[in-house]
């Protein structure tokens, strides 16, 4: 636990949200330190995405607190989250399909000329730079992103999230639409971002995706946190047990959702 003496970048405390009568997230707590990758694991419907959408401002929590740098933060919409340096790569990518890569990259943060109009040329030039670094094969800057391949769309979404000096990055199933080579690329990127001191939440229902990249895993089941553990203290099989059975192994810190042994 090399970051233990630092203040957490993000601390989620007893977050709850219900849709109708369903408690999608029930008193979930977890934290994220600078330069740390936390894998958020669980079955489909375990509440991972919902918890993370509360942090990114897409949903408003019913109760609980969010602390950023130790200070309580009000996050009621995506704009608030972005002001705190929280960027999200959604599972659906959340791209505006009918506009081009540059327009998507700068959506909500357009570069303006001194007359207050859109500076499309400047945005495209910047986009070319970013994309060259991220995905050198990307050349279709004029096409609406609807016409791009899954991997190309993914790189646009990733570029958008990291281009604006994010401090906290949320990646919801970032490799779901990618082939092996591209998945490897995303892995490299995560390691690089980690070195820059960015805290990353990595969400997946497949532990093989995240086990090697994450410093810590937090496992959710039925909306509650089963427990958290450093990846050095537990085996993949033990984490699998947490995901499937909610059984907390000795190396992990149990949460409210842990099955009573």
């Amino acid at each position: 636990m090399e970051n233990n003496n630092q203040a957490p970048l993000v601390e989620l405390k007893e977050i709850s949200i219900a849709f109708g009568g369903v408690h999608a997230v029930d008193k979930a707590s977890c934290e994220l330190y600078p330069g740390e990758v936390v894998g958020l694991l669980g079955h489909n419907g375990a509440g991972k995405s919902t918890l993370i959408k509360i942090l990114s401002g897409a949903y408003t929590r019913d109760s609980g607190q969010i602390f950023i740098d130790g200070k309580e933060a009000t996050i009621n919409n995506p704009r608030h989250a972005k002001d705190f340096g929280i960027e999200t790569i959604y599972q659906t990518l959340a791209l505006a399909d009918n506009v081009d890569a540059a327009a998507n990259l700068y959506l909500g943060r357009e570069i303006l000329t001194r007359w207050g109009t859109l500076d499309d040329a400047a945005m495209e030039a910047e986009t070319r730079k970013v994309m060259n670094r991220l995905n050198p094969n990307f050349t279709r800057f004029k096409d609406p992103v609807k016409q791009l391949s899954g991997g190309q769309r993914q790189s646009v979404a990733i570029a958008r999230a990291i281009h604006f000096n994010a401090r906290i990055l949320i990646m919801d199933e970032p490799t779901a639409a990618l082939g092996p080579a591209e998945t490897e690329q995303v892995g490299q990127l995560i390691k690089q971002l980690k070195q820059d001191g960015i805290g990353i939440f990595l969400i997946s229902h497949d532990i093989h995706d995240v086990f090697d990249l994450a410093d810590r895993v937090v496992v959710m089941k039925n909306g509650a946190v089963v427990g958290s553990a450093h990846t050095t203290d537990v085996t993949k099989d033990e984490v699998l047990g947490m995901i499937i059975l909610g059984k907390c192994p000795p190396g992990a810190t149990p949460g409210p959702g842990a099955a009573q042994a």
Binding site: N98, R109, E110
Partner: protein, 434 residues
Amino acid sequence: MSDTPQDVKESAFVRFLRATEVDTRLLGMIGALMLIWLGFHFYGYFVNGYGAFLTPRNLWNLSVQTSSIAVMATGMVLVIVTRHIDLSVGSLLGFSAMIMGVMQVWILPKYLGLGHPAIWPITVLVGIAFGTMIGAFQGFLIAYLNIPAFIVTLGGLLIWRGASYLVARGETIAPVDPTFALIGGGPYGTIGATGSWILGIVVCLGILFLLYSGRQQRKRFNFPTRPLWAEYLLGGVGTAVVLGAVMVMNAYPWPKGIVKKYAAANNIEVPEGGLFISHGFAIPILVAIAVGIAMTFLATRTRFGRYVFAIGGNPEAAELAGINTKKMTMMIFALMGALTGIAAVIASARLKSATLALGQFDELYVIAAAVIGGTSFAGGIGTIYGAILGALVMQSLQSGMVLIGFDASIQQMVVGGVLVVAVFLDNLYRRNSV
């Protein structure tokens, strides 16, 4: 513009399109418009013995008649692009016109005196403000109370028509202020031959400047530029169209009676064979062009426009990107209301009165114009120039059929059929181009 291997053998035409970067849909629409114009002209020529369509007089009238629908259609594009609809524009036009009628005929003369020069600007401002407020209110219901736009504006369709009856108990309010009436066109509501030439030349210079600055901008960032011949061609065609329009508008003289009155009032001797005084561009078409330019700017060069299209493409993504989609929706409907107010000024000024039926069925023509102009109900796609061309197509059909003496019932059927066929062709176009 796909670069898949199967179209390696590009025809000269495709290469031409690529070099000039002309939108094929724009070419198609202009082609359809030309076909309609020639069709009506030659039908008249061969069947009635007189081709009345391609005459300065008819084209001038066409430009005036198109104005009010074109103004509203530019706003409807944004409404439909964001996956909404506004069915209330016709009734709102009637209501705004009625408010303006009451304002300038009943209220303002009482305080300012009849014919006071401030009457028309106050009236216009009140009318546009009314349209904007009502549009914003409808937008509020749609955005913040989550009532579907179809329902809110269907309600508006009935409510504002009823309200305009209440305002004047169904009376026709006339005559409007004489300066206000100029906004509707008519011989005096034009800028004359010299004015038209000056305007035409200014617009030509504007076109050349836009081409030049666009090229400089691309060079600045090392983007590919169009070949030089394509730039010259675009500049040449653009200026030719503008100057041609000036010549057509100037070729339509004032009617003899008006000339006689005007000459008598200004002590001008009428020479033998009559005095040729050109109409030139009518004020309503200038208003429509100004609105078209402003709306194109808004849609393509500003944040507001960028957000409109982003919301249309994926509302959820726009929200997640931090765009305040509710506020945007309200503003779009407020803008639609403001444009309806402007259209109401044109329509009632042209009629020189506010009548109960003013604007009836306009919502259908406006929506049809936007859709014929390539605005997609699936959201995210549409252009301002397309909507204006669409309005011109609708109005050309309408007045063309009047000229060649079609029955009113047939006219309706043709317009309805054209709308359906246009959307079908549009679907085909999209399927083949993407």
